[in-house]
């Protein structure tokens, strides 16, 4: 692959890579072996590990909206004060 992943490839696989990544983690629930490494995701989707890594890193920024970071301080402070 070139230095950066193509936007077409990213758009095609971003949801699948995200769903198989560590974004949602479970204990005691079989969700189909999510929480895979990049190599394992690559094997599942027929992609090179490096391509999966690039797609996942982009998705980690894309799927977690900036507003969440802005809202976090106020939300945490409110929760902190409410937990006696």
């Amino acid at each position: 692959m070139s230095e950066y992943v193509s936007i077409e490839l990213y758009e095609k696989y971003k949801q699948q890579v995200w769903d198989l990544s560590l974004a949602i983690q479970t204990l005691g629930i079989d969700r189909g072996n999510e929480c895979l490494s990049d190599a394992e995701i690559g094997e599942r989707l027929g992609l090179e590990t490096k391509v999966v890594t690039e797609i996942r890193c982009m998705a980690e920024c894309d799927f977690i909206p900036m507003q969440g970071y802005f809202d976090a301080e106020e939300r945490k402070e409110l929760r902190f004060k409410s937990i006696k």
Partner: protein, 279 residues
Amino acid sequence: MSVEQEIKVKCLAMGARAVGIASVDDINRFAPEGHRPDDLLKKAKSMIIVAGGEPSAGAWHAGTHRTLASIGYNRGPMASAARNLSVFMEDKYRHFTIPIPSGNKDGHQPYISLKLCAEMAGLGTRSMAGGIILNAEFGLLFFNGVITTMELEPDGELEEPVCPAPSCVDIWEKKQTLPCFLSCTDCLSGELKDGKIHSMTFRQDRCYTRAQSNSQDSLQQMLYEAVKEPNAERRKAILFGSHFARTARTVAYSSEVSAQCFNCMKRCPYVLQQNDGMR
């Protein structure tokens, strides 16, 4: 004194609150290829996991969340203990030893799961609070350690899970909720059954914005916003504003990089027990 005891005494002298030894074979039963100790150090046989750096009892009583977030965690102490331990072990036992690379390898994926290593070293078990490893004596601990080619007697997994605490089982039976769930309804969910963890779901994607509010991802996203922004005044507001300023400082000084939330742990019985006898 056995070699294992000698190493543990050294770790405690270097500032660790607790120490455990894990075998690479045990870790490899769970860790995927590419994230195993012997991927990081050829012919690795053992890991020594140092634990500590937890918030002081006083930190949980901070007046504001921001204060707790600022002082609750520092990456330095356990990483420093691990680095010193690797030098000590090579000098004394002549076995190849490296500190665990404890940053993330790419994006949100670590080189190796420190949670798994701590579990296999008998330092605690997974909790309902996002799988955070809970230690029965100290509650929340942070982990680091070394990987070595030295064969050591492992401590192995704990036989009994630390979480849920008996008081949490009582709460669950009455209300079908837990103190950690009430503290963070967005990130955590799950179920206890017969006094044990039956299932747990952790939304790391939601936790990320709170545990790492001013970290790498935040920096990347704000830079992207600024680059896209055609209006120079608005660009200035993004880059000179308080969120970007704090994020830039966080990245520059490696302070407040992670563990910026703590709310799920604040009412955990194993954390609350640290208050015993405090004034």
